[in-house]
Amino acid sequence: MNKNSKHVLAVVAASALALGTVVTSQASAAPKEVTIMFQGPLTGGDAQLGQDQLPGAIFAIAEYNATNPKVKIKLEKADSQCDGTVAANIAPGVAANKKVIGVIGTSCSGEARNSFPSYIAAGLTMVSPSATAVGLTDPKAPDRGYPIFHRVLANDKFQAPALVKVGAKGVTSPKFYIVDDLTTYGAGLALYAMPAAKKAGTIVGTDSVTKGTADYSSVSTKVKASGANVVLYAGYTQDGAKFVKSLRDSGYTGVFAAGDGVNTSDLPGLTGKAGEGLRLVAPDVPFDLLVTKEKLAAFTKATGVKVPGLYVTSTYDAANVFIACIKKGKLTRAGIQSCVAQGTFDGVSGAKIKFDRYGDIIGGAPVGEFVVKGDKIDYVGIA
């Protein structure tokens, strides 16, 4: 061995030692637990939406943790009450928590929009199970969620025509009256319902009633005076329930159809008999129709919930997007962000989930039709 060879060997040995040290220190620094945040309404008027969804995330993470992985996942909850103002207040805290590497959420579009500034700045990826407003992924919208926002369901460009179709089903010469609640979600859904409604029949009136209004008598009078036979409502459960009760009390006997904001398991209890036959849509297929009996039993065991609510499917899928990335060893926010943006994931329905550049699911997703029967909301089929 000549002198040069000895030098090379020494350098290689030193490099190997150094590399080994780095690798060893990285391995010892690798977290044994990472945190995923569920963000949505857990209290407040729209709490049922979040409470219906949360078991989907709990179950997905329980399934993963039960496999004894090297890195376990901890699920934490952030309650933004389906309220943009609340979301704007809590998002900086979530973003500042370095343990959180991804957010399942938000449930509502307004919450998402107001969380974007904090999460974009922190590079914190969101995968929403139910925020459907088109603007959240619109390349031209100034307040879009690019590059951190994704959603595992169809947006309101798909939901709005389905809402019109379900509302007009079986109605000869539909005369639509479209009402929204002035929220990011409600105003957007109503806007996208207009072209489809014009095609399917006539729009005889529109109105916007602020979310949280107590008295719906004025708009009910207007609906009745307009001769409408299909009322389309774009808003959330509490106001939808007040509106349908007021309409029925005013003597309106036509169809009442609403978007997914109203499709929560507490709806029949809030509307009483006034809600009977109320038609609903949602870009979701019930979890219990997609999984085996064994899996459903495991879901019940893990969550304590016997009948999965709406959006358990999409919340389960959203959680599994993060889980797939964590399985690939992506344990940082940056790693999760590139993995979610570029990866292809398995949905519980068997469909593949892949996101386009702005976070929408490529190829869209089904929109389901539902109807209120007694104290339950029954799934009818794909709208």
């Binding site: 008027g45 109105d207 004025s218 809030l270």
Partner: protein, 317 residues
């Protein structure tokens, strides 16, 4: 703008506006009575209303045992349930209003503290009550059972004379008439009017000031409790912040009519209810608040003491 709905549904909008307006009027008495006597705004009155709505829920669900989705009841059972709910809510609100006076006002008054201190004290009490109920209910709205089947007496010119609406209108007018008579004709009413004219002179005349103030709060609580009953019967829901919007509306009604004036509160509430209905119908519901407050500002610009403000001054002098 949609004027056709006004021509076709004029009387329907009037009827709904009157019913809503009278609920505002009943709540606004809680503001106007206290202001008349103490020259202070009782900001806790909106939460007295909120507690009233929850007390009705408690009476109907926990005491009488009606489930939220129960079928409507009839006859004596219905009458008893409604009367118990009405009287219960009025008593709860009156007691709470008296407690508010004792805790948030009396001690500060006794020490001759700045009026601002009382104002902050009332706001503090208001926040304490609403936040307590927020925690207690997890911020979730509550639905009350529909005990009263909403049958209608008939429809005249498009106006649907539904039992709950008619009941609210008739009973509210009766309560106003009784209160007006009480304040203007009874001995205690004379004491209230005397204190509202001059606290110092009333004391010199031997009027027990604390007693009059407590009575005034109690009366405001009673009418606010009645408003809670009619609100719950018509809208069948409540939540921890229900008092906020209703309280703002009732306070606006009191200012519109001339705060400190009973009849001003009555007509201010009516005007506000009608204004809201017609603004929603013509301009769209999203313009309701804008229109109402624009009108309020305009009225106050022209008549700073409210529509009936001058009349108050005359009766006081």
């Amino acid at each position: 703008m949609n004027f056709s709905v006004v021509t076709s549904q004029f009387w329907a909008l009037c009827l709904q506006g009157v019913a809503l307006g009278l609920i505002y009027s009943l709540i606004s008495l809680g503001y106007t009575m206290v202001y008349g006597v103490l020259r202070l705004i009782n900001f806790a009155n909106s939460e007295v209303f909120m507690v009233g709505t929850f007390s009705i829920l408690f009476i109907q669900v926990s005491v009488l045992g009606h489930a939220v989705n129960v079928d409507p009841i009839h006859g004596i059972q219905l009458l008893g349930a409604l009367l118990l709910s009405l009287v219960g809510a009025m008593l709860v609100c009156a007691l709470l209003a008296m407690l508010v006076e004792l805790v948030a006002y009396r001690r500060l008054r006794a020490h001759g503290t700045n009026r601002l201190a009382s104002l902050i004290s009332a706001i503090g009490t208001s926040i304490f009550l609403s936040e307590s109920f927020r925690i207690f209910t997890h911020s979730r709205p509550q639905t009350s059972p529909r005990l009263l089947e909403k049958w209608t007496f008939g429809e005249i010119a498009g106006a649907n004379f539904r039992i709950d609406t008619v009941m609210a209108i008739v009973a509210s007018i009766a309560i106003f008439f009784a209160l007006d008579q009480f304040v203007n004709r009874s001995r205690l009413g004379a004491a209230i009017r005397a204190v509202s004219m001059s606290e110092e002179n009333s004391r010199l005349m031997g009027i027990n000031l604390n007693r009059v103030v407590t009575l005034t709060f109690a009366i405001g609580g009673l009418t606010t409790g009645a408003a809670a009953f009619f609100y719950t019967t018509i809208y069948e829901n409540t939540q921890f912040n229900v008092g906020f919007n209703l309280g703002i509306a009732a306070f606006t009604a009191a200012v519109l009519g001339g705060i400190g004036n009973l009849r001003g509160a009555f007509y201010g509430g009516l005007a506000l209810g009608l204004l809201e209905q017609f603004a929603s119908a013509i301009l769209g519901s999203q313009w309701k608040a804008v229109t109402v407050f624009l009108v309020l500002v305009l009225v106050l610009l022209i008549k700073p003491s409210g529509i009936f403000g001058e009349a108050v001054q005359q009766t006081r002098t």
